[in-house]
Amino acid sequence: MEIGREGVINIVVAVALLAIPFAAVVLDETFYITLATRMAILALAAVGLNFALGLGGLVSFGHAAFFGLGGYAAGILATHAFNAEPLLLWPIEILGSNSMPVIWLTAIAISALVALPIGAISLRTTGVYFIMITLAFAQMIYYFAISWPAYGGEDGLSIYVRNGFPGVNTLNPLTFFLICYTLLIVALFLFAVFKDSRFGAALQAARQNETRVAAVGIAPYRIRLAAFVISAAIAGLAGALFADLNRFVSPSMLSWQMSGELIILIILGGTGRLFGPVAGAMIFVLVEYFLGGITERWQFFLGLTLLVVVLFARGGFIGLVAGRTRHE
């Protein structure tokens, strides 16, 4: 298969992200491994959002809800395992867990289950309504997390020991990075495959012209709902990893700022681009780290940058270096 200019850039971005932690090991600056892991996890969440936003044109301003739910799934399971208290005794006994695969599946399932009714209601509307309603539902979960005292309420929940993965030592930062990186690549692969499938064709066509899709006999609603749920599930997985990275979960993972940041990641990288979220997450974390080191007011400059990107450089980073999207 021919690899276009964008393909080359994608490979460069993927290799660059992979190179950071190895360079960090060589330079003995382990902190940079954490930065790279943060990039990979945020990129994963944004790849999730990109299913809804990039392919489906569904501007969800509430994906922090799923990111946070994944985080809480990790935090709650780990806490119960740590305290050796069952999560539920009746009707069935559910125990805590500190095994990453179990936690990931739980995070994916919970996010998808919650996304189903939220999507089902929100997708009855379009445009601005959809933006506001997804935002409002995320706020609902945010306020619930704050006011429910059992799992730390406003103070959040600590994970005392990073959860484990069979056969490897997750306490090693490089190992944990590689786990996150692998999951990111798997998600990107899924994104690329789905995009070219019948499902992806219907989803993208519904974004471009809803009336046309209905007129050929495809109901956009169900296609979009499926995309929304898939999108939420991936964001939930990212949330579980994020909790393990920070060994801490708090309502801030569910906040509207988090939802906004996820959208920003996609836009900085380039909307609708396969590697847009990855490039966006790398730029975002770098800006956050370096600007944050120079000035306390880094968010001011982040705001200005974002404003300039939106007003004048709509293709984002990949659009800037790869030129405009090839038509299919």
Binding site: V193, G217, I218, E328
Partner: protein, 249 residues
């Protein structure tokens, strides 16, 4: 006469005080082209919307293939075989002409919930889509994004999509609009042959095309059908001349 494919009886639709569709009855039999004409603002678009299912009538019945479809939405009617072209071209602009048609083939084949096989390597989608493009004379432009097609080419593409859907009736809303004389002529010939495949309800302003094509004409004025009959009947109907032809130009 044969059993009609599409049958509309007593259809009415009000927007507040405005009676946009007023007790309209018309039908479409196998193998015919039934043209619907009328001055601007006569309510043609409103009527088309109700037939396609994007607007609910206040009163009356719409039957398609013998079944009442009042409660069916546009998606269901399209799946039953009501192929529609739009007055203002309605395509997926970023997709190529080919991918636009493939979407119709995909819908006709059933579920869109297939996640893994790449569509561009799926012969069961590609071949019928290319065949439909070929029939409307657009095969050479298959890879051009819909947004970059000329006005006339988009009309052709709309018809290719309706063909690919395997439509049992066509609902064509001003297919000639914006076409040059050559384009109109070839499209006229194409539509004339198309009627043998499935009947056409044709909304059109181009009178030359209407008179050349139509087996029957119905004239809609202020939401009501004031006359219906053969080309000659309509040409000579004094009420039509008064209400429509007299001040159309």
């Amino acid at each position: 006469m044969n059993e009609p494919i599409l049958e509309i009886s007593g259809l009415s639709k009000n927007f507040g005080a405005l009676r946009a569709t007023d007790n309209v009855s018309l039908d479409l039999g196998p193998g015919e082209i039934h043209a619907l004409i009328g001055p601007n603002g006569a309510g043609k678009s409103t009527l088309i919307h109700q037939i396609a299912g994007t607007l609910k009538p206040d009163d009356g019945v719409i039957r398609f293939l013998g079944r009442e479809v009042n409660e069916a939405g546009p998606v269901a009617r399209a799946r039953m075989g009501l192929g529609r072209s739009f007055q203002v071209s309605s395509l997926a602009p970023e997709f190529s002409a080919l991918r636009n048609v493939m979407l119709a083939v995909q819908s006709r084949q059933g579920s869109s919930f297939r996640f893994f096989k790449p569509v561009m390597r799926d012969r069961s989608l590609l071949d019928p889509a290319m065949a439909a493009l070929d029939r409307v004379g657009l095969a050479a432009r298959a890879d051009v994004p819909a947004a970059e097609l000329s006005h006339g080419e988009r009309r052709q593409l709309e018809i290719a999509i309706a063909l690919a859907l395997g439509s049992k009736a066509f609902l064509l809303d001003e297919p000639m609009a914006g076409m040059g004389p050559d384009g109109s002529k070839s499209l006229t010939a194409f539509l004339s042959a198309l009627r043998d495949e499935a009947p056409i309800l044709l909304v059109e302003h181009d009178m030359d095309a209407v008179f050349a094509l139509a087996d029957r004409i119905s004239v809609l004025v202020y939401g009501r059908i004031i006359a219906s009959g053969s080309v000659d009947d309509i040409r000579n109907d004094p009420a039509v001349r008064e209400a429509y032809l007299g001040n159309a130009e």
